[in-house]
């Protein structure tokens, strides 16, 4: 590769790229990456493998420490995103780069606003958006506020933004992480259309099925290095996962059938209207029993977050009750809720899960630092704390130099393991697991899933919220689907469902009868 004929074939070549951050972390080491015109190219790897860093350098957000970037045969220095945009490179970030209070059209033209005199030409902005939306077959509502549109449309706005700026190469960072099955299919159709028209797509993903379905070639990264470039059709899913993690990963979680006993969490008629007057929870009732995993599926933003917030008193419902083992938890301080045996794996681990600048040790004892065993009068018993944290780091295979290391310095997967180590080790009666494996690597994902199953089989009640359809379907014993703040379906046996069926409920195309839904309350 890389000589004579091939050089012309590539529209992007990144040669021997290294990136060492000022704190000494080497995110990329001698990585070769290239793109052919008109291909969909997967970039795969665990969290912290250096995929995002590599792509940020291609988009001009970061500068390589060494190495060369060649675009259309020309060596180029991509000093900023503007330069990258001018070279025809566009990026759709995992966390959308949109301004919520502005309209779709305003977001699309931001930075290149059409003007009428000194004023913004709003009609023209809408027209540009509409024209391009039609041209690329990306359906958006130009006049709606971004805050009011669904996630799938937000992503289309992002893709449009890149295309309107003349992008021929599109980098999509985990584009399907937040989409339903239907939306994902739609995205794939759109990407295939773009590919036919000669656009090149880089597709970052953890999801093996998607990679196999849509990509032509793939580059696998591990530990900041490239593990090679492959034709997608020539490698099996098992090969890919082996290259990514360096060992075989069991993708199917093995679990015995659940034997649920008495109800632990009992939620009745929970209602909540948010500050923008949108009804986020509408008469939500369900039970979670000892020994079962109850999954909540649904497109994000349909009340799952609000529900978890209510159950951990991060917010107060307008009406309804929630009880743990017969005692109300509404409005109780978090310490009291924890005393009752409730653990939370929060959706936003950086905000609610950890204190980033504190050590691993301080983080894992933060929920129990007042306990007698760890204190000696007013002072900590440091020896006990060291022992406990070392044990937890070992049990939960947290990859770190020592428990004294700052949590914020770890990779996403290891940060989540720290959260889980704390939340799972305090003898919980109920675990609220909100997106427990979002954006973390295959190894950590597998570990956390296994732990959840293990704990549930040992008699813990688990409420699992996940936007990852495969996860919620594989892991849950029973499932409820939320749409528009309501429970629209309950499946006693999660294993018999198909993705398509689920998608129809998640998007509100289908709904069960109240009697069917009522079965989730085991009175």
């Amino acid at each position: 590769m890389g000589d004579g004929v091939n050089r012309e074939e590539y529209i992007v070549q990144m040669k021997q790229i290294s990136k060492v951050y000022s704190n000494g972390v080497a995110a990329n080491q001698g990585v070769d990456f290239n793109l052919k015109k008109g291909e969909i190219h997967a970039l795969m790897g665990e969290n912290g493998a250096g995929k995002s860093t590599l792509m940020k350098m291609l988009f001009g957000m970061e500068q390589p420490t060494s190495g060369e970037i060649v675009i259309n045969g020309e060596t180029t220095v991509l000093s900023s995103p503007s330069v990258a945009i001018s070279k025809g490179i566009g990026m759709v970030h995992q966390h959308f780069m949109l301004v919520p209070s502005l309209s779709v059209a305003e977001n699309v033209v931001l930075g290149m606003v059409p003007k009428k005199g000194i004023f913004i030409d709003k009609e023209k902005a809408i027209e540009i958006t509409r024209e391009n939306a039609e041209k690329y077959n990306l359906h958006v509502e130009p006049e709606m506020r971004v805050a009011d549109i669904p996630v799938g449309m937000k992503q289309k706005v992002e893709i449009l933004k890149a295309l309107v700026r003349g992008a021929k190469i599109l980098i999509l960072d985990e584009p399907t992480a937040v989409l339903t099955a239907q939306e994902t299919e739609e995205l794939f159709r759109e990407l295939t259309t773009l590919k036919k028209e000669g656009y090149t797509v880089v597709f970052i993903s953890h999801k093996l099925n998607e990679i196999k379905e849509i990509t032509d070639r793939l580059t696998i990264m591990r530990n900041g290095r490239s593990m090679g470039v492959y034709e997608t059709k020539d490698v099996s899913k098992e090969d890919i996962s082996r290259l990514m993690v360096g060992r075989d990963v069991v993708l199917n979680v093995q679990k015995d059938p659940a034997k649920p006993t008495e109800t632990v969490l009992k939620v009745r008629d929970l209602e909540y209207v948010n500050e923008w007057n949108k009804k986020m929870l509408n008469k939500v009732s369900f039970d979670v029993r000892k020994g079962e995993i109850l999954g909540i599926a649904g497109v994000e933003g349909n009340g799952q977050k609000e529900l978890i917030d209510m159950l951990f008193n991060l917010n107060v419902p307008d009406a309804g009750t929630a009880e743990v083992n017969g005692r109300s938890i509404i409005g109780l301080p978090q310490a009291k809720i924890r005393e009752m045996g409730v653990s939370l794996v929060p959706e936003d681990r950086m905000l609610y899960g950890i204190a980033g600048t504190a050590s691993i040790e301080e983080n894992v004892i933060s929920d129990r630092c007042a306990k007698k065993e760890l204190n000696n009068g007013p002072l900590f018993k440091m020896s006990e704390i060291h022992k406990l944290s070392e044990q937890l780091v070992k049990d939960y295979t947290v990859l770190c130099k020592s428990p004294a290391q700052q949590v914020g310095m770890l990779s996403g997967g290891n940060i989540q393991k720290v959260v889980v180590a704390r939340e799972f080790s305090n003898d919980p009666a109920l675990i609220l697991a909100d997106q427990p494996t979002r954006g973390i690597d295959v190894g950590a994902t597998e570990f956390i899933r296994k732990k959840l199953v293990e704990l549930s089989r040992s008699g813990v009640a688990v409420l699992l919220v996940s936007a990852d359809l495969a996860e919620v379907m594989e892991l849950s014993d029973s499932l409820i689907v939320m749409h528009n703040g309501r429970i629209v379906a309950y499946f006693r046996d999660a294993e018999t469902l198909t993705d398509e069926e689920m998608g129809e409920y998640m998007l509100g195309l289908k709904e069960q009868t109240p009697e069917e839904i009522r079965r989730v309350c085991h009175d």
């Binding site: 301004v99 930075g111 004023f119």
Partner: protein
């Protein structure tokens, strides 16, 4: 009491509301724009103090209010850009920069005044803590026709040029924020600077423009204070208007119209305080009135806002 009422219902009282509100409105607009750009400039008070001093000095030495006014504006803008340099480029906490400017604005202006003018007690031009520059003030303007309308004419006509400008600038600021690409960029940077940066909007430039705008407004406000509101400069003459503006910004929901109404409310409160002392209320009791009204109205505003957020829930 009836004395007080007749005092309040006089055109002079309403006139004074607009006059008192003008500098607060300038500072409020400054607060609004920087807040839209995603940060806070608590140093408006200090900026206004500096602008007031240099405006007054320049007008005195040049013998022209135009020179004084321009100097005040330039000083406000330059100092705000220096604040921006410390905050954006040297990465100092913008709140600390604001505190520094405020402290300098209080003590530093007096120091500079004494150094520059060599004023000592007893000299004709000024007392120990102030300059008097009567005769070179920003002119007042009588509006033809309107000035002849009874009552209304007395309230609306005859204000300082800068009072009219304040309300005009308020409208222009609103148009700038919502109708121009600069405003769009400011709002985008304030709400999601990464989004703005990712499409090639220079976040640093926008922040400089926003803080420069706050300096410009402080310049207007400061010039008004020393060259129109009072006939000269004195120590701490801005008297918390830069802080009241921050409250007005919040109370006005961060929008120009709301900010203007809040400024008028605070103007009303101060005018009321003045009237109370005019009818013989002990000045120690009268002078806290505007500040008490500020606190009470903020509390009511907060209460109403929380309730308004909750109310529809009860209905639902």
């Amino acid at each position: 009491m009836s004395n007080l009422l007749s005092n309040i219902l006089s055109p002079g009282f309403f006139f004074s509301i607009f006059r008192i509100s003008a500098p607060i409105l300038y500072a409020t607009l400054a607060a609004i724009v920087v807040e839209k750009a995603g940060f806070a400039n608590i140093g408006l008070e200090g900026l206004m103090m500096f602008s007031a001093l240099f405006g007054s000095l320049a007008s005195y030495y040049a013998g022209s209010w135009v020179v004084g006014f321009l100097t005040a504006v330039i000083v406000g803008v330059v100092m705000s850009l220096v604040m921006g340099f410390f905050a954006f480029q040297l990465q100092t906490d913008i709140i600390l920069v604001g505190i520094a400017i405020n402290l300098m604005g209080s003590g530093g202006t007096l120091f500079l005044c004494k150094i520059i003018t060599d004023i000592t007690e007893g000299k004709a031009m000024a007392s120990t803590t102030g300059l008097v520059t009567s005769g070179i003030c920003i002119p007042n303007i009588s509006i033809p026709l309107i000035k002849d309308i009874p009552f209304i004419g007395e309230v609306i006509s005859g204000h300082s040029l800068l009072t009219y400008l304040a309300f005009l600038v308020c409208i222009l600021t609103s148009i700038m924020l919502y109708r121009t690409s600069l405003g769009l960029n400011i709002r985008a940077v304030g709400e999601n600077s990464n989004a703005a940066a990712s499409v090639g909007v220079s976040v640093l430039k926008i922040k400089y423009i926003a803080i420069g705008f706050s300096g410009l407004m402080s310049g207007f406000g400061g010039a008004f204070m020393s060259m129109s509101y009072a006939q000269g400069w004195s120590q701490d003459m801005v008297a918390g208007r830069g802080f009241i503006a921050l409250a007005a910004q919040a109370m006005g929901g961060g929008e120009c119209l709301g900010g203007m109404l809040s400024s008028l409310l605070f103007g009303f409160a101060q005018a009321l305080g003045i009237k109370f002392s005019a009818v013989g209320l002990d000045s120690n009791l009268a002078s806290p009135i505007p500040y008490a009204i500020t606190i009470i109205s903020l509390a009511i505003f907060g209460f109403v806002r929380i309730n308004r957020a909750k109310k529809p829930k009860v209905a639902a």
